[in-house]
Subunit: 138 residues, 2 copies
DNA sequence: CTGTATCCCACTCGATACTG
DNA sequence: CAGTATCGAGTGGGATACAG
């Protein structure tokens, strides 16, 4: 029983894992993909609107995450010099290139919840837990 | 200048963001997607082999992450009762359903690194930094 | 070989109060 | 309205030593 199969031999292995790390690091954290999704699917939003649509996020976190996304060119921030200033956030065309992947992740997550729920149902019922990733502790 | 576009109206918005959270939570952390990638692209591996291929991971982390992946049915663990026991880890057919998404993320990350590098090059050169996500501090 | 157990630091994130 | 500042709890993850 041999273990090393290596269907895809070397082919710049280091560069590829680094690329994966880059992508994951950028999307890491509790909020960034959600913000991206909202901006992708619901269009341009003001700060407060965003905070309402991304359920549970604090102003501090929203600010910080938006800064990262803007620095990485996924989101554009526009200040409107209205009476009290308002700020518009929108996804950039470049940010849009992530939409397809995020939507796939969403679909996968839908199926995963079904799968884990039915696998766990016999033991204990997770009614509507907002998170279901099975952890060693459980 | 109206902000609410709502190209995709309601359509179970809560359920979808929850699904996205499920997926992201499962993949969260420094190592899980890397482990998945290695098992997908390089085939069945023993514990020590995995630790060598996932560069920099400690035994503790590798154990913990593999447990989560196994509990979520992405990875199968098989103990071989050899002289000193050996353990085989392999991706499950279900885990394979993530491969497509992960490979897309990898591609995206490749492009992103190029983009950020060239955008930042004029200011400071990031030679071969293992991570490049642009952060507010920089 | 394949893990576990501990210790520990840094960082994430929430809560709250404050500002232009 | 759109943030910033500060504090503090909890956690992710590294280092090291130990175990079956």
């Amino acid at each position: 029983m041999k273990t090393t199969v290596n269907r895809y031999p070397e082919c710049d292995y280091k560069g590829k894992t680094r690329a994966l790390n880059d992508a994951m690091e950028l999307l890491q954290g509790k909020w960034k993909v959600l913000i991206i999704t909202v901006l992708c699917c619901r269009g341009r939003k003001r700060f407060t609107e965003l905070q309402q649509e991304v359920e549970g996020i604090s102003a501090k976190m929203l600010t910080r995450e938006l800064q990262v996304l803007e620095l990485n060119q996924l989101v554009q921030r526009t200040v409107c010099s209205t009476k009290p200033v308002t700020v518009q956030y929108e996804i950039t065309p470049y940010g849009k290139t992530l939409e397809k992947i995020v939507l796939q992740l969403m679909d996968w997550g839908l199926g995963h919840r079904r799968r884990i729920m039915s696998a766990t149902l016999s033991v204990s019922s997770l009614p509507d837990s907002s998170s279901l990733c099975v952890q060693p502790g459980s």
